[in-house]
């Protein structure tokens, strides 16, 4: 008897036997775990971002000649002037997010990463890009500046900003 485990010989209270204790303990741990996961997940998603505004100004329309394709690399936007007016394209490749460039000698937009190329209206000529470059909402502000909202896509060839 002397070497018997004291826990083994302890009388068990009828309200809380070991099996019940384990059950309550495991389930409360599971609840706490799920709660921790939910809050942990929310913690990982920042609520405030210090990223630049999606609305950008590209200056006065008279700086751009008809037929020109201008890359604003800082904001990742092409501004194109055609006889109908202005439109802006998202310059970020639809394949994997590299910044495309306009090749004046071929009149095409090309991605340096995986070799996609696009026409001036954003449509795909070749390469792995799955979609055309998106047209972005473009307008002329009250003070006469060209404005582009990078977060707002518009259907291709649907609207042109004009003076």
């Amino acid at each position: 008897m002397a070497d018997q485990d004291p826990l083994e010989s302890a009388p068990e209270s009828p309200e809380m036997d070991r099996r019940k204790f384990m059950k309550v303990g495991t389930s409360s741990l599971a609840v706490a775990g799920v709660g921790a996961c939910v809050f942990g997940f929310r913690y990982l998603s920042p609520n405030v971002l210090y990223e630049p505004s999606p609305v950008i100004s590209l200056g006065k329309p008279e700086h751009y000649s008809v037929g020109s394709v201008t890359l604003d690399a800082r904001n990742g936007v092409f501004l194109v002037r055609v006889p109908e007016g202005f439109y802006a394209l998202n310059a970020v490749c639809t394949h994997l997010g590299c910044l495309t460039v306009f090749k004046a000698e071929t009149g095409e937009i090309a991605c340096p990463c995986h070799g996609s190329n696009f026409r001036k209206d954003g449509s795909v000529i070749g390469g792995p890009a799955p979609k055309a470059l998106a047209w972005l909402k473009t307008w002329i502000s009250d003070d006469g500046n060209l404005m582009v909202d990078r977060s707002a896509n518009v259907p291709a060839r649907s609207e042109y900003a004009s003076v």
């Binding site: 990223e51 994997l96 991605c111």
Partner: protein, 454 residues
């Protein structure tokens, strides 16, 4: 419960001094390796000491990484300035950074080599299936370590490599953009992303790897040390079970059964030799550092490090979701299921050629599958992915050509190979060819270039 003393004289429990405690600890520590190793298994030939060498590079990574952390601030653009400081101002900084880089490359290579070697030796067989799966997890962690480490210098390669990786993530239907947001802590690769990658690279992944390696080593020990087969192809068990050791020793009485210390000595020597080689590399070639990350300019071509150029080559042919998620997912699950699939048990399946020849109908589906894959790859102009497939087809055809007659040499050797050999060899050849093409034969716009022309 195994209480057999491993080294006599270290288990005298009546000595109650700190020294005896250390001795006892030492004898426990020695159990990391098998107590007995057969003479025939000591040599370089069996394992090429690849596991030990991988562990060696990981140790170098821990040491150099810890030292680099003393000078590195995970912020923009300070992180890049710290690289320049390490390169030009900090004593031995350039050497440490280069050693960390070259040792990382070596670790990735050794992990691949270790897995290939273990596969061809069939060391994934029960009871080692858990250790094989742990090995796959360690490979994934190693690749993640490389990927997260690449962002930290905040140079052009870092920025665009991470951008492409994050966009592969967001190609997952429905869940992708959310996952990308969690991974980067924002919409673009910026300060939040750098900090998250830093924490992953310096804390979470190394801790995970240390834990996994511990289990990997413990299992290796419990499963009887190195996997080996006798001349008849039967697995040799030689763990710490004294009865098994006795039986093995008797059966292989012509062989000497020696202590683990000889193996430890050889492996440590191999690690030291590798460390010297890496150190010489670090002193000769400094780790590349491109210009400060510039979101306004994508370098052309924007190339990943060599172990990801095979993936980049696939991205050129397939949509990101297929090349970046589906194919790697298939490869990883394929690797995990190797020990659980009868196809991969060499003893049970026997020769692939004989299996195919035994019933004529077995040729049909196999040939159809190869034709379908070939047509798809031709349609995509993926000639480099097609090449290994056709080499394998040619080799099987060559081997099957005059089956039935007694064939020796290379042809006979091929005839005996099981299906698992062909699958794995095709996979390895694809990996080598795609990586070579992606690394050497791709230029601006991912167009084909000849490396010797400019």
């Amino acid at each position: 419960m195994n209480t057999e003393p491993i080294v006599s004289g270290t288990t005298e429990t009546h000595l109650r001094s700190p020294f005896s405690a250390i001795l006892r600890w030492k004898s426990d520590f020695q159990r990391i390796m098998s107590a007995r190793v057969l003479d025939s298994q000591l040599g370089f030939r069996k394992t090429w000491y690849l596991g030990a060498l991988t562990l060696g590079t990981f140790t170098i990574q821990l040491g150099t990484g810890l030292l680099l952390m003393l000078y590195y601030h995970p912020s923009i653009p300070q992180g890049y300035a710290d690289m320049k400081d390490l390169e030009f101002v900090v004593s031995s900084g350039a050497m440490l950074r280069s050693l960390h880089r070259w040792s990382a490359h070596a670790m990735v290579f050794l992990v691949f080599a270790h897995m290939a070697k273990a596969f061809y030796r069939a060391a994934y067989r029960p009871p080692r299936e858990l250790n094989w799966v742990l090995g796959v997890c360690l490979m994934i962690c190693t690749l993640l370590l490389s990927y997260t480490g690449y962002l930290l210098p905040w140079d052009q390669l870092s920025y665009w490599g991470t951008t492409v990786g994050a966009n592969i993530m967001s190609s997952i239907p429905w869940l992708g953009p959310k996952l990308r947001f969690y991974m980067l802590g924002g919409h673009t690769v910026n300060a939040n992303a750098l900090l998250r990658f830093y924490v992953l690279h310096t804390m979470i992944l190394p801790m995970t790897i240390i834990g996994l390696i511990s289990i990997h080593m413990w299992r290796l020990h419990k499963d009887g040390g190195m996997y080996d087969v006798d001349d008849a192809g039967r697995p040799i068990l030689h763990g710490n079970d004294p009865q098994k050791i006795a039986a093995e020793t008797q059966r292989l009485s012509q062989e000497k059964s020696i202590s683990y210390a000889d193996l430890l000595f050889r492996e440590v020597t191999a690690i030291e030799a590798l460390a010297v080689v890496l150190l010489c590399m670090a002193l000769t070639w400094s780790a590349p550092l491109e210009q400060l990350a510039n979101p306004m300019h994508t370098p052309n071509p924007a190339k990943a490090p060599w172990y990801f150029t095979g993936l980049q080559e696939l991205l050129h042919y397939f949509p990101p979701f297929v090349a970046g998620i589906i194919l790697p997912g298939l490869i990883v699950s394929g690797l995990i299921f190797i020990p659980f699939s009868p196809v991969f048990d060499r003893i049970r399946t026997g020769s692939a050629i004989a299996w195919f020849r035994s019933t004529a109908t077995r040729w049909g589906p196999g040939a159809l599958l190869i034709v379908v894959i070939s047509v798809l790859l031709i349609h995509l102009h993926a000639w480099d992915a097609l090449l290994p497939l056709w080499i394998i087809v040619a080799l099987t055809g060559f081997a099957a050509g005059r089956m039935g007659t007694q064939i020796n040499g290379f042809r006979g050797w091929l005839c005996e190979k099981p299906i698992s050999f062909w699958i794995m060899t095709l996979f390895l050849m694809e990996a080598v060819v795609l990586t070579t093409v992606g690394t050497l034969f791709r230029g601006p716009g991912w167009a084909w270039v000849w490396p010797w022309r400019g």
